[in-house]
Amino acid sequence: MLTKSHIFRQLHARHDRQRGALLVEMLVAFGLISLTLVVVAGTFLSTGQSSRVTQRQIELTDSIAFVLADVTREARVGENFGDGAGAELTLTRIAGINNQAADVVRYFIGTGSSANRLMKEVNGVDDLPITPPNTQVNSFEVDVDDTGLLVRLYIEAEHVDAELGETPVRVQTSVAAGRTGI
């Protein structure tokens, strides 16, 4: 029953000898709990951290894999490779079911709002990115040998959210023309 005297009894009970012990107990308990929380939260934070790093690496690798697949496919059905001033790749498509003969394809690093993104254009128009905005392409170097049939590519890219010390992806590869030794 909730009577006046009952409440007063409860209030008086707060002055019990037990209260002091209770305060210490509570402080100890709070201390222990917060200590545990810090340890547990720390574990989760570092797990989240490493999974974000892994996620960034996956995104970066996917972007580069897409670029390499596209460049390789075009090169296999292309000829007349050119490297501009070393920072772009141009080629002419050979006729095929997927190709209009004599289409000129060009890969280069974009400028302005497309800065640090690898671009592709066909016949000098329709330049569009082939890397997502989360991938920052730092370097795209092209070297075509004297025969015009072999291309050496060097691409260096990092994730835009990369933290200090996170390694960028560096890929160096050679692509040979589909039509050789003419």
Partner: protein, 209 residues
């Protein structure tokens, strides 16, 4: 812990104590429920974005590799046996829809009189309906950076459609204007107040923000 020294050991909690505890529990439960709704919306949106991206990649693979039109279409006589590989696969997006549609279609250079039907989604050409998670809708569509179309057809076709294109983007506004053969499209998905956007362009780049 509130038991007074002179009270009996079996005394229970007072009404106030019980009410206070219930109140606190109620507040906690309320906070949790609000939080859980946000978490669910976020998760459903992420799942939807993954579904859209993987559906686009699926039709890209089918379109690029020359997958045949479904056998029953050939059996119906709608497509001759020789033509069954001469087509593409596409995804159709409708504004405010809760699902996206996979269809097969033909390139513009095949038969101009049938362009409209064969580049675009048509119920006859439906392959598969991909249901988006609960509460997720296609909220906005933009083509070549211009928002406004209320539908979008992304067709990936083996062989060229126009001299430099692998992917066809077709869209329509509710006022009747059409976009044909554009370069890139963005599809925005909404879940509650959250949105995410999927980008696709004709060179095959697909990503979500």
């Amino acid at each position: 812990m509130f038991s007074p020294r002179h009270a009996s050991a079996t005394q229970g909690f007072t009404l106030i104590e019980v009410l206070v505890v219930l109140g606190m529990l109620g507040i906690l439960a309320g906070m949790l429920a609000i939080n859980a709704r946000g978490v669910r919306e976020t998760r459903n949106l992420d799942i939807a974005v993954d579904e859209v991206v993987s559906t686009l990649r699926q039709v890209q693979a089918w379109g690029d590799t020359g997958r045949s039109v479904p056998a029953e279409v050939v059996a119906n006589g709608d497509v001759s046996d020789a033509e069954r590989y001469d087509r593409g696969y596409g995804v159709h997006f409708d504004q405010d829809a809760t699902s996206i549609l996979v269809y097969f279609g033909f390139g513009a250079d095949r038969d101009t009189s049938r362009v409209a039907k064969h580049n675009r989604y048509d119920p006859d050409n439906l392959v598969e309906t991909v249901q988006l998670p609960r509460g997720v809708t296609v909220s906005d569509i933009s083509i070549d950076g211009v928002a406004g179309p209320n539908e979008l057809h992304v067709l990936v076709r083996r062989g060229r459609v126009r001299a430099d294109e692998e992917t066809v983007f077709l869209g329509s506004h509710s006022n009747g204007t059409s976009h044909n053969y554009r370069s890139a499209a963005e599809i925005t998905l909404a879940s509650g107040s959250l949105t995410r956007t999927v980008y696709v362009n004709k060179y095959g780049l697909i990503y979500a923000d």
